[in-house]
Symmetry: C3
Subunit: 207 residues, 3 copies
C-alpha cells in the first residue's frame, strides 16, 4: 500500500464517520447511515479521479474502501448516543478528515506530474467535496460556507505548503505531512481560537 | 435492444415523469419541465457510466433517451392538473422508477464483470441519484432521507437479491427481475404498510 | 486561441464574478470567494467535458482558466460594496455568462461532430450548471427554477438557433454569435419586460 492509498483509506474512514453522524441527525436507518457515509467518504476522491481521468476511480479499484466507510457507518449507528454533542463531534472529525484528504488529493496530482495550480485545486477539491455533498444532501448550510471560519482557506494553505515543500525536497512523506499538519493546525485553530481571515462586509445591509 | 437498454429506457421515462411532477410543483414553464425531467431521468445512469468509465454515457450513445424524458415532461405538463395529489403520484412513480433503475445499474455492472461490492453500489447509485438530484435542485428534503421509510434499503436489498440470484443462475432476465421485484415490493410495502428498519434514536434531543 | 476557447475564458470570468457575488452575500473570506468563483466558473464546462469524454477537462488543459476565475473573485472582494444591489448585479452578470457559456457548449459539441440533440443538451448544460451549482451550494432556490422567467428556455432557444444556423452556414463565428445573441436577448427581455412562456398552473392549490 502506498502512502497516498493509506491517506485515501484514512480519509474514507473519517469522512465516513462524519457522514454517519449527519445520518444520525436525520434519524435514518442503518442503510441510510451507510449511504450517507459512503457518499461523504468517497465524494472528494471520486471528483479528483474523474477530473484527472484516472483509469479507475480509487474505490472501484479497491473494494476495501467501501467496506471501510460502511464499518464507520455501523460503528456510529451503535455508539453515537454516547456522544455529548454529535454536531461538535462531526465538526472535529471533519477537520481531521480534511487534514487527511487534502494531502491525498495533492499526492495523486503530484504523482501524475500535474502543474502546481492543478495540484492546489485537487488538494482543495479532494478535501472539501465529500463534506460539501454531505451537507448539500442533508439540506444544511455547508461547513465550507460558515462565516468567519477557516475551511477552504485551511485546505488551500495546506496545499500551498505542500507545493512549496516540494520545491526543496523530493520525499513524499515530508511533503504530505507538512500539508496535513498545516491544514489541521489552521482548521483547529480557527475552531478553538477563532482564527480567521477578514470577511467581506458591505455597509448597506444584505440585499 | 438489450434487456439493460430496455430498463434504461423505462427508468428514463418514469424518472422523467417524476422530474416533471417536481417541476409542476415549482410552477415552471414547459422548458423547465423538460430540464428537470431530463436531469432526473439520466442523473443516476450518467453517474454509473462516468464512474465505470464506459466509452459513452448511455444517453449520448442513444439520442432516443432524451426524447423519451422530454415526452414524459410534455405529457405531465398537459395532464398533471387531472391528478388528485401530485406529490403522492410523484412518490409512487419514483418507487416504480427505482425498481427499474436498480436492475439497470446492476445489469451494466455485471456485464462489465465488476465484483459484487461494485455491483451493489452501481445498483443503488443508478437507482437513487436521479431522484436525489431532483430533490436537491428543488431544495426539498430528498426522499432518500425520509425518516422511517425503506428507500436506500429497498435499493440495496434489490441489488443484494440480484447478486445472490447470480450465484445460482446465469439468466440475466431472472436476475434482474428478482432485483426489480424485491426493490419494488419493499419500497411499496414501506409506503403502504409502514415497513421499516429500526431508525437511529438518541435519548437527548437532536443537537 | 480558438473562438471556443475565447468563449470559455469569457464564461469563466463572468461566472466567476457571479460566484464571488454569491460569496459576498454569504460574507465569506477571500479564499471562500475564490472557491465559489471557481466552482461556478468551471462547473458547466467541466460537466460538458466529462460527459463528452474529452481527453482533458478544459481548465486542466489550461491553467489560465482558474487564474481568470480567481482574479474575478479578488476584484469582487474589493469592489462589491460599491454596488447598489449585489443580487441585481449577480442576475445581470449571470445572464451575460449564460449567453457566453451556451455557445461555448454548442461549439465544443459541434467540433466533436455530435448529433443535434447532444449539441442542444451540451449548450444548455454548459450554460446552466455552473450557476445551478452556485445556487445549490449556497442553499438558495436556483435562478433556473425562478417562476415566470426565461432561463432554461433562453439557453435552449440559443442552442436551437445555433443548430438551425449551422444548417445554412459553416462559419463557426456566425453560428455561435447568433446562439449567444438569441440567449442574451431572451433572458434580458424576460428580466426587463417580463417575457415568459405560460407556466404550469393547477386549479387546486399545490399539495
Amino acid at each position: 500500500m502506498t502512502l497516498v492509498q493509506g491517506l485515501d483509506y484514512a480519509a474514507v474512514f473519517i469522512f465516513g464517520l462524519t457522514g454517519a453522524l449527519a445520518a444520525s441527525r436525520a434519524q435514518l436507518d442503518i442503510v441510510g447511515f451507510i449511504f450517507l457515509a459512503c457518499l461523504t467518504a468517497v465524494g472528494g476522491g471520486t471528483l479528483r479521479d474523474v477530473l484527472l481521468n484516472r483509469d479507475q476511480v480509487f474505490w472501484i479499484a479497491d473494494a476495501g474502501m467501501i467496506l471501510s466507510a460502511s464499518i464507520a457507518a455501523v460503528i456510529v449507528f451503535f455508539t453515537a448516543h454516547f456522544l455529548e454533542s454529535r454536531l461538535r463531534t462531526l465538526e472535529w472529525l471533519d477537520a481531521l478528515a480534511l487534514a487527511v484528504a487534502v494531502p491525498a488529493g495533492v499526492g495523486v496530482a503530484m504523482a501524475l506530474d500535474q502543474n502546481w495550480p492543478i495540484v492546489l485545486i485537487m488538494g482543495v477539491a479532494t478535501g472539501t467535496f465529500g463534506g460539501l455533498m454531505r451537507d448539500v444532501v442533508c439540506n444544511e448550510v455547508p461547513l465550507i460556507l460558515k462565516k468567519g471560519e477557516l475551511y477552504a482557506s485551511a485546505a488551500l494553505a495546506g496545499a500551498v505548503a505542500a507545493v512549496m515543500t516540494a520545491a526543496v525536497t523530493d520525499t513524499t512523506l515530508i511533503i504530505l505531512l507538512i500539508c496535513g499538519v498545516t491544514t489541521f493546525a489552521l482548521r483547529i485553530g480557527s475552531m478553538l481560537f477563532g482564527w480567521c481571515l477578514p470577511v467581506y462586509k458591505s455597509h448597506p445591509p444584505r440585499q
